[in-house]
Subunit: 269 residues, 2 copies
């Protein structure tokens, strides 16, 4: 499957309503075939991670953003269970603590940027500071507007210093969110995930979509592209995400490190 | 399989030479059956982790220690690939940095202790400060000797504050280490793992065994027990480790959190 179709070209306007949440374009197969292909890709991802970690030169940062119930947790579970946690770190950015709020908004995310050989997965990220912050007016517009440039500059620096950045927006429809909220409420094993406040956020759906469009448009760059991943169907979402990650890692020149010199003829006694 | 046979009873002397590195006691089956059982246990571990993470009350700390080539990395890969990395963190403690050395030896490990809902895996740990430090005389004996008590007190505090601690010593024979070193030297995809200095450490085998015995004896407690895991055969090692972890988690009262009150009758529109 070609991943370009999901990438947001730098400098292009983004209209989320124009982008399908259910498309299975570019994949000739049904759900079962898609799941099988995802298993293959995830296996490949595990192999690539092993070399990435051993080589300890490249760094991979994956940013996951989405509306509530779009499947951030589910994507991590589906795609990264099967990848060695040694070298793979997930950081969930929740409501900032007092300490975090006492710093600039990039301070807390910077600490969790990947080291050489690592994959860092951000479950939410610094993008919340131009999303929820904008929708709820937590800081003045003139302030959050400047953040697009900070973020682009920050990501540029990371990329220049050896970090490969992949940003994924899991795109679901408002109808699908309702279906998932109702499921959570009805299922005793999922009910704890539901907060009454989730419905207040849902009322701001359109505001969030506008905020996402603006953020994605302002920050999709050649060195840190955004992908809009159709996410109404979990199997297709997992397939697309794993294909994006495999293609991204395969484009790097991953290799095991050279052995120390002087090992020839060494005897183990 | 009963895991008590691997546990070091508090206050008992530990003689590693008396403990088998190849035993398959307590498991009625061959390698294929053992591998199959490990797959089942690892699947169960994944389920338990999901509830641990959701519940966000218990914390699990796993300390992995072993001689070189005993399989610390391999154990993590085998047992934790298949567990959701969201909520599972591996920290590899290498030679301390200048910053780390400028602090007490527990400073760097404390930062990586698990939060509520998390599994933290230490690949090497604060135990290096009574192992390599002792064998190489990096600090005076009167100083490292006092560390057993610091460590016991530190772990006691972690346990009192809600951390379940499991310490695993992967026990291989000196012969098996030689076999694995030779394999590393001969295999181009593994050769990078070999350091000529590994052979110098191997010469101190007996010193390390004495250091492990003293450390394990001094710090195996009811709240932070050591397990000596026979590790000459990878399949058996994986089986024992996964059984220990499953039994440990099953002994906790893991459950999904209660849902927010007031959700009854809520309509998603």
């Amino acid at each position: 499957m070609k991943i370009d179709q999901f990438r947001v070209d730098p400098g292009h306007a983004v209209e989320l309503a124009e982008r399908s949440t259910r498309s299975a374009d570019g994949f000739d197969g049904d759900k079962a075939a898609g799941q099988q292909e995802a298993v293959r890709l995830i296996g490949r991802l595990g192999e690539l991670q092993q070399v990435l970690y051993a080589g300890a030169t490249h760094k991979l940062l994956i940013v996951l953003q989405a509306m509530d119930a779009a499947g951030k947790d589910g994507t991590i579970r589906a795609v990264f269970t099967g990848v060695n946690p040694q070298g793979t770190r997930v950081t969930s950015f929740k409501r900032p603590t007092d300490l975090e709020l006492a710093h600039d908004y990039l301070w807390r995310v910077h600490q969790h940027a990947p080291a050489a050989g690592e994959i860092a997965i951000f479950n939410r990220s610094h993008y919340e500071d131009v999303l929820v912050v904008r929708v709820h007016g937590l800081v003045a517009e003139e302030r959050w507007k400047r953040r697009y440039e900070h973020i682009a500059a920050f990501e540029r620096m990371l990329a220049d210093e050896g970090t490969t950045i992949v940003k994924l927006f899991l795109h679901i429809s408002k109808e699908e969110q309702a279906v998932r909220f109702r499921e959570r409420l009805a299922d005793p094993t999922k009910r704890w995930k539901f907060r009454a406040g989730d419905l207040d956020e849902r009322k701001r759906w359109d505001d969030y979509q506008r905020a996402y469009e603006a953020a994605i448009e302002a920050t999709s760059t050649p060195w840190a592209p955004w992908y809009v991943v159709p996410a109404d169907r979990n199997w297709y979402r997992n397939l697309v995400v794993s294909q994006i990650l495999v293609d991204t890692l395969e484009a790097l020149d991953l290799r095991y490190p050279d052995p120390e010199t002087g090992l020839d003829g060494l005897k183990v006694i």
